[in-house]
Each structure stands twice: as structure tokens, then as C-alpha cells.
């Protein structure tokens, strides 16, 4: 009898996103793994060539539902470099602030998913409850929970007024307290450690040869971080450590992410303490002069890279997006080999994959055309509490 390949996916092999794995097994052991991606491909790069730079910013922000600020900032950095725009320091600080808040949101989300994948659902419930704290702050600063829309060519659209600083700092204190508890879980809870340790190993040599990025690479002892190596926005002014770990497995990837959260809290405090005064935007031309630039950005999942070429018109000649998952997906094959079939979800989840980023999708939500009523955040919150209260659920 010849080899039989087991298809896993494309429907939700690990996360709620499509990817297809073709697995060759010997008993329960994985001998060979292949990955098929592309199910989320929507041609965003082509669409960018047919829209203006500003429209592209909004489109690229929707490449990903989580690291949306990463993509819009990464793209704008390239555009601003071509146009020779000097982004004001206050705008750089606000961009960095939102970037780090986004990292908190992403890492807490990941920790919950990791808990869920290994059957530790109370961890999932806790982290996702705590994640709401940072989501509220993001909504307070930008008006949106995701796809913040705070960026614009040449700066940011909204100022972070000093009356918001104490609210942010209080939330950071709460999150720091909670993260200490997660560090305790990650280092002391034996059922968690035993399930993750030694699973999905990836050696330092493999990380280096395959150019693996982000927390996945740092968990194998490779200290690469675009925030330090190729400083952008306000990172040059901040003091922070690049967290690494030498476990080289799923456990190490969990440890790196929870410890990175602690660095992020410190960065948020530094940003608020040293926030420069001044304008938040400079005027940008509609037509961007001909030129090209590459921008690198450390998204929560790893390095994001955008290449932009302008031709002197209001539309770009070429936009190229390389999201971190595409850089890491090769390594997943290596991580799965010689492990058990049951390890697939957690090993795949451990790179914190985002296939819509990788395939560059765009999510379209239908607008309710009948309603023109606008609700502010508080009204929406009250509405939802009342909605549940009428149905007998009290918060």
C-alpha cells in the first residue's frame, strides 16, 4: 500500500482561518507535513494600484483584523519616506503608543487561543476578559476597537489629550497586575508546562536559515526585533529589552510573549511621560513623487515589510506586503515533523498565524443603510448592557 496523505483543513485547522495541511503519518507520528495557503487571497496588492495613497492606507489597514495599525503604519512610513515628509514627533509617539497597545491586545488574544488549543479554557476566559481593558483604551484613543484609522499620510488624525493619560496608566497598572499572574501560570502551572514543553521544536540554526521572524524566532534564542535593529517611529527614544528564550519550543514561544507584555507596559509609560508637544500632522501632497522605499515594522507576530513604488501620480505603481506569517509558515513544516497528530493545533497556533495577512484579504462588512443614528462609545456600552438586562442577564 502506498502512502496516504491526511488532509487537515482548509476549514479551521487551528485558528478560525483557512489553511490546508497535508500530513503523512506513521501511526500517530507526523512524517511529513505540507502547507497550502492562498484561501484568503483577494488581490489587495493589485487593488492598491488602482486607488489613491490615502485610500490604500484604509485598505491596507484591513489586511488584518488584529495588526491593522501595523500594516497602515508600515505602509505610511514607506510613502512618507518617498514624499520626504517629516512626521512630527508627537505623531510618532502616538503611532508608537497605539502600536504597543495593539501588541498587548494581540499577545493577550494569543495567550487565550493557546490556552484553548491545549484544553485550558479558563486561561482563555481570563485573558480575553483582560484583553477588553486594552480594547477599551484603544476605542477611547482612536474611536475603534480594531482598524483604528488613527493614521494619515504625514501624521495622525487624533491627538491623545493629557486628560486621557491617567485612564491609560490605570489600565496599564491593571494589565500589568494580571500579566504577573500569567507569568506565574506560565512558569508554575505544571499541566500547562508539560503540554507545551518539547513540542514543536525549532532549532536556532533553523530559525536563522529560514529567516523566521518575531516571537517565534526569539523563542529559539535569535534576538531579532525591527524595533531595535531598524528603529522607526519613536522606538529610538525608548529603552526596552528584546526578550529571548532558549526553549526553542511552544513553551518558549508562550514565555516570550508574556514577558514581552511587561516590556510593552514599560514602553507605554515611557511614551506618556515623554510625549512631546507640538503638531500631530504635516500637510501631505496628493501626488507622491516618483521613488521607492522599503519599510520594516515589528508587528506583534513578527516583522512586517512593505515595499512601495510611486510614479509621481496619486496612485502607487506597486505595493508589496509581506506579513510575518508568510515568513514563518515554512518553519511550521519543520516544527510538525516527528510530533504527534494531536500537536498540530497548538504547534500551528504557536506561530500566531494570520492567514488573512499572509494572503492579503479584505473583510467587507455590510452597512445598515436604514439607520443614520450615531452612538458614542458610552451609549453603545449602555445599550448593550440594557439589551442583555431585558433578557435577564445582568453584569
Amino acid at each position: 500500500m502506498g502512502n496516504v496523505f491526511i488532509p487537515i483543513g482548509p476549514q479551521h485547522p487551528a485558528l478560525k482561518e483557512p489553511a490546508s495541511f497535508r500530513i503523512l503519518l506513521e501511526g500517530e507520528k507526523i512524517i511529513e507535513a505540507n502547507v497550502r495557503l492562498g484561501y484568503n487571497h483577494r488581490g489587495v496588492e493589485k487593488a492598491c494600484e488602482e486607488r489613491s495613497f490615502l485610500q490604500d492606507m484604509y485598505l491596507l489597514e484591513r489586511v488584518c483584523g488584529i495588526c491593522s495599525h501595523s500594516h497602515s503604519t508600515c505602509f505610511l512610513q514607506a510613502v512618507e519616506e518617498i514624499a520626504g515628509l517629516e512626521v512630527p514627533p508627537r505623531a510618532q509617539y502616538i503611532r508608537t503608543l497605539v502600536a504597543e497597545l495593539e501588541r498587548i491586545h494581540s499577545h493577550l488574544l494569543w495567550l487565550g487561543v493557546a490556552g484553548h488549543e491545549v484544553g485550558f479554557d479558563s486561561l482563555f476566559m481570563y485573558t480575553w476578559r483582560d484583553r477588553e481593558v486594552v480594547m477599551d483604551i484603544l476605542a477611547l484613543l482612536t474611536g475603534n476597537r480594531v482598524n483604528y484609522g488613527i493614521n494619515t499620510i504625514g501624521g495622525v488624525r487624533r491627538d491623545v489629550t493629557p486628560d486621557k493619560y491617567p485612564v491609560i496608566l490605570k489600565a496599564i497598572d491593571t494589565l500589568e497586575e494580571r500579566t504577573k499572574y500569567y507569568i506565574q501560570i506560565a512558569t508554575e502551572e505544571m499541566s500547562f508546562i508539560k503540554r507545551l514543553a518539547g513540542v514543536g521544536r525549532l532549532s536556532k540554526e533553523d530559525v536563522e536559515s529560514m529567516c523566521v521572524v518575531g516571537p517565534t524566532g526569539r523563542a529559539s534564542g535569535v534576538a531579532r526585533d525591527a524595533r531595535r535593529d531598524d528603529p522607526y517611529a519613536a522606538y529610538g527614544d525608548l529603552s526596552f529589552k528584546v526578550i529571548t528564550d532558549d526553549h526553542c519550543d511552544v513553551y518558549g514561544r508562550a514565555v516570550v510573549r508574556v514577558l514581552e507584555l511587561m516590556e510593552t507596559y514599560s514602553m507605554v509609560r515611557q511614551l506618556l511621560k515623554n510625549m512631546p508637544e507640538g503638531p500631530i500632522t504635516v500637510k501631505a501632497p496628493r501626488k507622491i513623487p516618483a521613488g521607492e522605499a522599503v519599510s520594516r515594522y515589528e508587528a506583534p507576530r513578527g516583522e512586517d515589510l512593505h515595499y512601495v513604488r510611486a510614479n509621481g501620480t496619486e496612485k502607487p505603481e506597486r505595493v508589496k506586503v509581506r506579513a510575518p506569517t508568510l515568513a514563518n509558515v515554512q518553519a511550521v513544516k519543520k516544527m510538525l515533523e516527528n510530533y504527534y497528530l494531536a500537536d498540530i493545533p497548538i504547534v500551528v497556533a504557536a506561530i500566531d498565524p494570520c492567514f488573512s495577512c499572509t494572503d492579503r484579504t479584505v473583510a467587507v462588512s455590510r452597512l445598515d443603510r436604514g439607520s443614520t443614528e450615531l452612538m458614542d462609545w458610552e451609549a453603545l456600552r449602555r445599550y448593550s448592557i440594557d439589551w442583555y438586562a431585558r433578557r435577564g442577564v445582568r453584569f
Binding site: L37, R224, E292, R318
Partner: protein, 159 residues
């Protein structure tokens, strides 16, 4: 920009054909235009002698008569050298870089699918990112490729 200058000197000394083909855009950003015939040896020299150990990604470009392939290479210290290689559209062939950078597999499949660049030596595997039933010879990122807006199957807007 002392380090960038050193890299420029070192490359032009080793490859006289690169004289005037390398530019320093700003600190940590360099560009070099390399002839397809020299590409393998330049890449090898950069990887092994100049410390460009990271291949960030590969970008494909449509330049009209030519197709461009941009290899975004970086060092640990953040210096990035973007190597541009142009091949004629009539016969767009490049050699795979996967023996040196195994992580480049997906990047190369992407330029195969979206721009129709042939990558010699790329191991067989799934295509990326287009569907298996994508019509042959259709390369969406080429400038002359336009999306056909007429619905071919399913419901029309009136029904």
C-alpha cells in the same frame, strides 16, 4: 553611514560590474542593480562575506519590457540591501535562491503565480497564492492584466 559605505566599497571592489549600480538611499537602506548572470555570485558574497543573512522577502515588478525581481536582504544590524534583477518579459527566468535561503520557497511561488516569472530549481509543491483552477497564462500583477467585471457564473445583478 560608514558601514553602508564600507559595504558599497567592498561590493564594487569584488564585482567591477557593480560600479555605479549601488546607491545609498539613507542610513540602513541600500539598493543595487545586478545583472542576472552575476546575481548568484553577488548573493553568495553578500550572504557569506558581508553578513546579509536575512532574506526579508522577494518582490516582483512589471516594468513593461522587463519583469523585475527585488530581493530584500538585511543584516542583523538593520542594514538592508535591496537587490534588483531584471529579466526580459519574453523569457522571464531566474534561478531559485532556496538552496541559500530555504524560507524563500513561498516568496518564489508568489512571483511565479502573480507575475509569471519562471523560477528554475524550485522544488515541486503546492502553488501559492492562486487557486488550483486558475487559468493558465493569467498573471494578475502584470500591468496589462485587468479584472473582467462581467459575471460568468451564478446570479447577475438584475435577478
Amino acid at each position: 553611514m560608514a558601514k553602508e559605505d564600507e559595504i558599497l566599497q567592498s561590493l564594487t571592489k569584488q564585482f567591477s560590474a557593480l560600479e555605479g549600480k549601488i546607491r545609498i538611499q539613507r542610513s540602513r537602506r541600500m539598493w543595487a542593480r545586478v545583472e542576472p548572470a552575476d546575481f548568484a555570485s553577488v548573493l553568495d558574497y553578500m550572504r557569506n562575506k558581508l553578513g546579509f543573512v536575512i532574506l526579508c522577502t522577494i518582490t516582483g515588478l512589471d516594468e513593461g519590457e522587463n519583469l523585475g525581481v527585488l530581493y530584500h536582504l538585511a543584516r542583523e544590524d538593520g542594514i538592508m540591501l535591496n537587490v534588483e534583477v531584471y529579466v526580459p518579459k519574453a523569457n522571464p527566468v531566474v534561478q531559485t535562491v532556496t538552496p541559500i535561503f530555504p524560507g524563500a520557497d513561498m516568496y518564489e511561488r508568489e512571483i511565479v503565480d502573480l507575475l509569471g516569472i519562471k523560477v528554475e530549481g524550485l522544488a515541486p509543491g503546492f502553488r501559492y497564492p492562486l487557486t488550483d483552477d486558475w487559468p493558465a497564462g493569467q498573471y494578475p500583477l502584470r500591468k496589462d492584466w485587468k479584472l473582467d467585471p462581467s459575471p460568468k457564473t451564478g446570479q447577475t445583478e438584475e435577478s
